[in-house]
């Protein structure tokens, strides 16, 4: 039985990766990534601020934007397409459990995002090199790696919503979760003393549970205030636990619901 599940997991992962590789989002995302790097280059040239800081800030922002958008789009699409176009019906009629199917989808999605990440990182490294910054430091590479983890958390969120919602609702819900995740810690930190206690408790609770700023440390890698090993470990563990929780919830809900086209 375990062998059956593992085989199914491997096949679904491979198929998802292949489908995403053939998806038309891949190339536009890459072109957009290159465009952002070029814009970062221009912005650094024009800015009165330190050249390297602006280059990293704008570049990291573009990197984060492209990766998060693709993670949300692919995460929703890879599951919702199967549900709405009906391929899921044929696939689940085969000897394959619901949970291995969904986990396979997420793993395929993670591999596709990692491939996109590697491509964008390679483009970024070339620009860094052309601007005489040399090779990226281990801190900078780690910071970008943490950003990839953030993309995977978003991909898991999208997968979870798509496992029980239609495409449009799943997209909207994941986008909302992304915005909340980016803003929660900032809002919690800027609440005034006069804010009602209940509101403070709620906002701080959300910020503690759902904080996507945890994965954005590229600026600190440039400014020399890079977090230590312990803090990095906590951030990475937070990402891994979030992925685990989101995919587990998705598997439980998906296994209990009727499958098929909406």
């Amino acid at each position: 039985m375990i062998a059956t599940h593992l085989r199914a997991l491997r096949l679904v992962t491979g198929e998802t990766l292949l489908l995403l590789k053939r998806d038309r989002v891949f190339l536009p995302a890459l072109f957009f990534g290159i465009a952002v790097v070029l814009i970062a280059n221009l912005a650094s040239d024009w800015s009165v601020e330190e050249f390297g800081k602006i280059l990293f800030d704008v570049g990291a922002f573009g990197f984060q934007l492209v990766g998060s958008a693709v993670a949300i789009f692919w995460g929703v699409k890879s599951v919702a397409d199967s549900r709405q176009q009906g391929a899921l019906e044929v696939q689940l009629a085969a000897p394959i459990g619901r949970a291995p199917w969904l986990v396979g989808k997420f793993l395929g999605l993670s591999l596709a995002l990692s491939a996109l990440f590697a491509l964008l990182l390679a483009v970024w490294q070339v620009f860094m090199y052309l601007n005489e910054f040399g090779l990226m430091t281990p801190d900078q590479l780690t910071a970008f790696g943490l950003m990839l983890l953030g993309w995977l958390v978003l991909a898991a969120t999208a997968t979870m919503f798509a496992s029980f919602c239609g495409q449009a609702i799943a997209m909207f819900a994941t986008l909302s979760a992304w915005i909340v995740g980016l803003a929660s810690a900032l809002v919690a930190a800027t609440l005034s003393k006069e804010s009602p206690d209940g509101l403070k408790l709620a906002v701080r609770g959300v910020a503690r549970l759902w904080d996507l700023q945890q994965f954005l440390v590229v600026d600190r890698a440039v400014s020399g205030q890079f977090p230590g090993g312990m803090e990095l470990g906590v951030r990475a563990s937070y990402g891994a636990v979030m992925i685990l929780i989101l995919i587990t919830v998705a598997c439980i809900v998906f296994s209990r619901r009727d499958a098929g086209s909406d």
């Binding site: 059956t4 096949l11 292949l18 176009q85 391929a87 044929v90 000897p95 394959i96 098929g260």
Partner: protein
């Protein structure tokens, strides 16, 4: 011989929400599908056929009841025995036919097709059998509807299932494609595969089915098989064997003239109907039908099929397809 598939007291209610009321899709459905036979599952739109099929495939959870295949509850492992062809083509458009079948075989791992070389050979054989040998590496999204149906058939049977579930298999096919599809189903039946045929087309039912179940509003209302004790409200469908000859492409007037001319030397036919390019002649006995086949062939008509059909006329069955008809 045990049954290939048994549905026991299946009940399924689709839960409503603020805008939709709960809907009873199946209301205590019990029926069986004998091994090695083609059993038709019929009913009006919304009768519960698709829900019944989805329950068998594990796509939908029953609120009550049990599905058994070959004497055991139908779990994930038992799905290896199943082949499924949905009504609408549901294959990922970005993959190729060869990729779809290869992955399908890797998932089912039928005996004798375990290595990748065996899988590749089986895929090539399967694609050649459905006339897609030259399209193995074409994206499914670029295939015509008819080609996609052929591929769906190939996917349903490539792993040699023991129980084949077909949902409107000939839907969307041209007349030649339909005929080919019916031939493939005949071949699977000859191989001993148990087949559940879900269709609206009575002509297909009469040509192919050995047994018949008709659903209405989520319940079994007519069956050619004896029903379990305690099940009420199910009428028994008596068999009325007739022997049919299908003549392809014949002008109706020319065929009628020949029939009238030959009627002096041969016993008369008992029915003549048209179905697209086909003229369907029915006879009271097997021997009469054989004599007419000889006579028609000698006169240059193309006889494409001969079968002994076992079910009632359209007029007897049609009332079961209307919501207000007999229950």
């Amino acid at each position: 011989m045990s049954d290939a598939l048994v549905l026991q007291s299946l009940r399924k209610v689709y839960k409503g929400d603020l805008l939709k009321k709960p809907q009873v899709a199946l209301d205590g459905l019990s029926c069986r599908f004998p091994t090695g036979k083609v059993t038709g599952l019929l009913g009006h739109n919304g009768a519960g056929k698709t829900t019944a099929i989805r329950l068998v495939l594990g796509l939908v959870r029953p609120d009550q009841g049990l599905v058994e295949a070959f004497g055991a509850p139908l779990g994930i492992e038992a799905r290896r025995l199943l082949g499924y062809m949905p009504e609408v083509n549901k294959l990922p458009a970005a993959l190729t036919p060869a990729e779809i079948l290869t992955r399908h075989l890797a998932l089912f791992r039928p005996k004798g097709i375990e290595s990748s070389a065996q899988r590749q050979a089986a895929v090539e054989r399967s694609l050649a059998a459905v006339g897609l040998a030259g399209h193995a590496k074409k994206r499914i999204g670029h295939l015509s509807k008819g080609m996609a149906r052929r591929l769906a058939w190939a996917q349903a049977v490539v792993h040699r299932p023991e129980l084949l579930i077909l949902d409107e298999p000939a839907s969307g096919l041209d007349p030649a494609g339909r005929r080919e599809m019916l031939r493939w189903i005949d071949e699977e039946k000859a191989r001993g595969t148990s087949i559940v045929l879900c269709t609206h087309e009575l002509s297909q039912v009469k040509q192919l089915c050995d047994e018949l179940h008709i659903l209405k509003q989520g319940r079994l209302v007519l069956s050619s098989l004896p029903v379990e004790g305690g099940t009420t409200g199910v009428a028994h469908l008596a068999r009325a064997t007739r022997h049919v000859v299908h003549v392809s492409g014949a002008e109706e007037a020319a065929l009628t003239k020949v029939l009238i001319d030959a009627a002096g030397e041969l016993s008369p036919w008992s029915g003549l109907a048209k179905d697209g390019f086909l003229s369907i002649l029915s006879f009271a006995s097997h021997a009469q039908a054989m004599a007419w086949i000889t006579a028609l062939t000698r006169r240059g008509f193309l006889v494409v099929r001969f079968a002994d059909e076992t079910f009632a006329s359209d007029e007897e069955l049609l009332p079961y397809f209307t919501v207000g008809g007999p229950v």
